[in-house]
Subunit: 324 residues, 2 copies
């Protein structure tokens, strides 16, 4: 069985060897730029680990691994344009470095390329593989729309928020695991367990991302801190704080999340103060723990030798900064 390090090396090698820049250069240079920004390559890594866990040969799944990362980066590219985000992984976003039309068209092309990678090497399970991928892609679009809806929707429930991040983040992680398992001809019920584990861990991962956005270090995280607060994003932190806050704090939060001041520093500071007073950090950590353990449990239920689950379990630990 491959270790997490071995799989990460394989993925690194795949992306180093792949040539993303084609003609016309003006279209593919932003594609290459986006894919060169790096990142953790989480989705291809999970995909190959799932394939390996069920005894599959990662070489059969390698183009799907590239394809899912190209798809993920396409969604980031268009999201950055829609959110008008200046930075991604500490570097200028495509729409800022080039322009909006380049961001639109290069993104569209990446989406087409993602499919191209998926079908580059045919597999007997291709119908299930592509159906999983398409459902994932549509889920991500739906999730992004709910996210945009919530910006102007006055009352967002925690359930609605969890459904949104499930679509926007968790289905792609879960989809990557499921696709990897399909390449290995895993049994249907094991595939479902792994998919559900991916959903739980994906939700935990997004809640952690919400935490980092509020408290994280801009140098480590590569994003500015407090952007969710600045952009009035009704994250889990905000929605949970509303539940816990007293009347005055609640009023302050709701008022601030209906404004967009020119310099947001004071607004961010006031919101973070309330988050501290209501001990939101602890509440969110508790929910992350619960989801994480649920995911671990779902992986433990899968019908392969425990020794084969080590790599996936280690990866999910790393993902959420757990020391095992």
């Amino acid at each position: 069985m491959l270790t997490p390090n071995q799989i990460q090396d394989i993925v690194k090698q795949l992306f180093a060897e792949e040539q993303f820049i084609r003609e016309p250069k003006a279209l593919y240079e932003p594609v290459g730029y986006t894919l060169d920004l790096g990142g953790k390559r989480l989705r291809p890594t999970l995909l190959l680990a799932a394939c390996d866990m069920f005894g599959g040969d990662w070489r059969q799944a390698k183009y799907a691994a590239i394809g899912i990362e190209v798809f993920h980066n396409f969604t980031l590219l268009h999201d950055d344009l829609m959110d008008k985000s200046p930075l991604r992984r500490g570097k200028e976003t495509v729409y800022r470095r080039w322009n909006e039309n380049t961001a639109i068209l290069s993104g569209d092309t990446m989406f087409a390329m993602a499919y191209q990678y998926f079908i580059q090497q045919w597999h007997p399970n291709m119908e299930a593989i592509l159906k999983t991928f398409v459902q994932t892609a549509i889920g991500v679009c739906d999730g992004q729309q709910y996210d945009m809806n919530f910006e102007t929707q006055a009352d967002v429930s925690i359930d609605e928020y969890m459904k949104m991040i499930e679509l926007k983040t968790a289905v792609l992680l879960a989809g990557a695991l499921k696709i990897g398992a399909l390449y290995a001809n895993a049994p249907q019920d094991d595939i479902e367990k792994l998919y559900n584990a991916g959903i739980s861990i994906g939700l935990a991962f997004q809640l952690q991302d919400d935490l980092l956005d509020a408290y994280g270090d801009v140098k480590i995280f590569g994003k500015q801190t407090g952007t969710d607060i600045k952009d009035n994003k009704k994250t889990y932190l905000y929605l949970r704080a509303l539940q816990i806050a007293n009347a005055e704090q609640k009023h302050t939060l709701q008022t601030l999340f209906a404004t967009t001041p020119q310099s947001p520093d004071k607004k961010i500071q006031t919101v973070l103060d309330i988050y501290r007073q209501t001990d939101i950090h602890t509440h969110v950590e508790k929910e992350i723990d619960r989801l994480f353990e649920q995911g671990q449990h779902q992986i433990n239920e899968i019908g392969v030798d425990n020794s084969k689950k080590e790599t996936i379990l280690q990866m999910t630990n790393q993902l959420l900064g757990r020391n095992k």
Copy 2:
């Protein structure tokens, strides 16, 4: 064999029965709006006609027919945003009726839906079908980029222009025909002939579209006349006029195509005057005739009974306004 009218009725029925609006509404209403604008449904019609010509059952290809039209409408939606076009088929474009982010995300979703339709009903030739579709999609993106490059590129040759419209317009028509033929298990060499015919006829169709943009009636065409001139698009008309024009006319054309006046009426008029003086209309018509005949010839070479080719031939005649 199905007649052109029968195939058009089938396609009309397919789109009338299909439900494009799902949840979240804010995402899918623009999708439904775009697909309800109608249009000739040319690509699904050609796809089903090609399937029928080779003795295939159109019912097997019906989701691909929907998928290719959804894909085409996705490209129109994003093109309208990139070109800042106010109207499409006489109605407001999505980015104007809603906003830019809605146009980006609804377009992305339509691209995902296109794939969803393609894989809805599996077929033994699915590998070739999807490879054709993906190659087509990437070609369309490449073509759109060349089109955008040409806006600022000083010297565009007629060869470069023809390559651009081949990618942007012709490969999708040719791809529709090829995919239809694949559903009918047509022989490889016949598929290539049909594909090449689609390229020739697609090029002729785009040159006719260029003509209509300059001379057409806004009511019939649903677009404003002279938009290519206004937008400094170096179309076949412009590039051919440069070849034929005298030094003074050439200078006027080049000067005008480097300006973007607030009210473009005078510019459009001056350019159209030069097109008339150089008899560009006749030159373009001649090239359209040549390409059209080339396409007809390629269809005639296909190894099925001539009687089976009648529908495709009639459709291409209709497409280019020829009376047979």
